[in-house]
Structures are given as C-alpha cells and as structure tokens.
C-alpha cells in the first residue's frame, strides 16, 4: 500500500497524506478497470472500419448517463462512499486534471467493515482514459481537480 508520508497530527485530529500514483491497469486493478481503446483484440467489428472494446459495466437498475462537474476544493477530504448495485464508470470530459481516491471493496458487503485509513490510495486520472469501479469499491465523494481557478489577463 502506498500511503505517502504517513499520518501528521494536528490538535485532536490526524491528517493522513496519500501519495498520488499514476493510474495504470495493474495498480488500479484492485479497485476497477481502465476504459480505453486497444491493449487487446477488439470485441466488436461492425460493417465499417470501426472496432470497439467492451466495458464490463454492470447495473442492477436502469442505466443512467450523467455529465458531472467537480470544482476545485483543495486536496483534502474526510469521507468515502461505496455502491452495491452498480459498477460506476467515469470518463474524462475536459477541464482540469483530477485525482480519485479509492479503497478496495470488501469481499462481502458488510456494513460494519470500512477500509483502514492506510488502505486508501489515490490515482491521477489519465485524461485519455476512463475508469470503471468495481461494485463496492470505496471512493471519495468527488474527483479532485489539481489546480485552482486562474485569471486570464489576455481573455
């Protein structure tokens, strides 16, 4: 597990620093899969020249596609969440580079089990690849843009 420099203490609380890792298929595998073209033979060939790669999306409910914006809010957080009935997918759609924080799903959906703080990891999202979380993968409530708003003197 990668856990940055370990915990730092302030009065009455602990700040756990998490070193952001590149999002690679093997390092991200405990949490989900990357969404991208290539890397293996295509799963789909139609009548034209296009080919496609299937994404193992699963849902117990009605699929929903949403465009979500996440504002810059700094790089600290205190909550994780997980979903039992869907493998959520996130596909970059522009804007600032961002980081996602995750923790591996438990083998069973035991609500008394939450990840240890030292098991939370963070990945820099490749703006050319999406990612699909496994069912029950814990994740921060937001993606975290890296950069605060900037002024544009020539706009």
């Amino acid at each position: 597990m990668t856990a940055g420099d370990g915990p730092a203490r302030q009065v009455g609380r602990v700040i756990r620093r998490i070193k952001v890792e590149p999002m690679e298929p093997d390092t991200f595998n405990p949490f989900g899969t990357l969404i991208h073209a290539g890397g293996r033979p295509p799963d789909f060939r139609g009548g034209g020249q296009s080919v496609g790669w299937a994404v193992p999306f699963e849902s117990d409910g009605r699929p929903q596609v949403t465009v979500v914006t996440s504002p810059f809010q700094g790089l600290r957080f205190g909550k994780l969440e997980r979903h039992f009935g869907v493998t959520q997918a996130f596909i970059p759609f522009g804007g600032s580079p961002a980081v996602v924080a995750v923790a591996a799903p438990a083998p069973h959906p035991d609500r008394d089990l939450v990840p240890r703080p030292e098991d939370v990891r963070a990945f820099l999202i490749d703006d050319r690849k999406g990612y699909l979380l496994k069912r029950g993968t814990w994740h921060a409530l937001d993606r975290f843009p890296l950069h605060p708003p900037t002024r544009c003197s020539s706009c």
Binding site: I15, S70, G78, H83, F90, S96, P117, A122
Partner: protein, 58 residues
Amino acid sequence: VARARPLSPPSADSVFVVLSDVETSEDLARGYAGSGGWLLSQEADYEAGSGVSFELVI
C-alpha cells in the same frame, strides 16, 4: 506576427461523463438529503468518526 491568445481562462472544474444507474443516484440523493436512502450505498465519515482526514500529495 499575430500571437495566439486564449479566449477564456482554463477551467478549474473537472468534467466527467458518469455511467451509473437511476436507482443508485436516487438512493444516494435521498441519503445526503436526510430523507432516507442508503439502501444501495454506504458512506464512511472518517473525519466525524475518528478525526482522520486525508490529504492528497502530488
């Protein structure tokens, strides 16, 4: 020589297309609104529960 000038500042927001399901989204919205929910999702609040917060280090 003409210089290229940006038309607008770079966005500080990150934008994603999210593929989920209606039931999870509605359950989550009810949960965070305090009107039920949490049947399909679970939240772990480390800050409130144990005073732990996380800081991302680039």
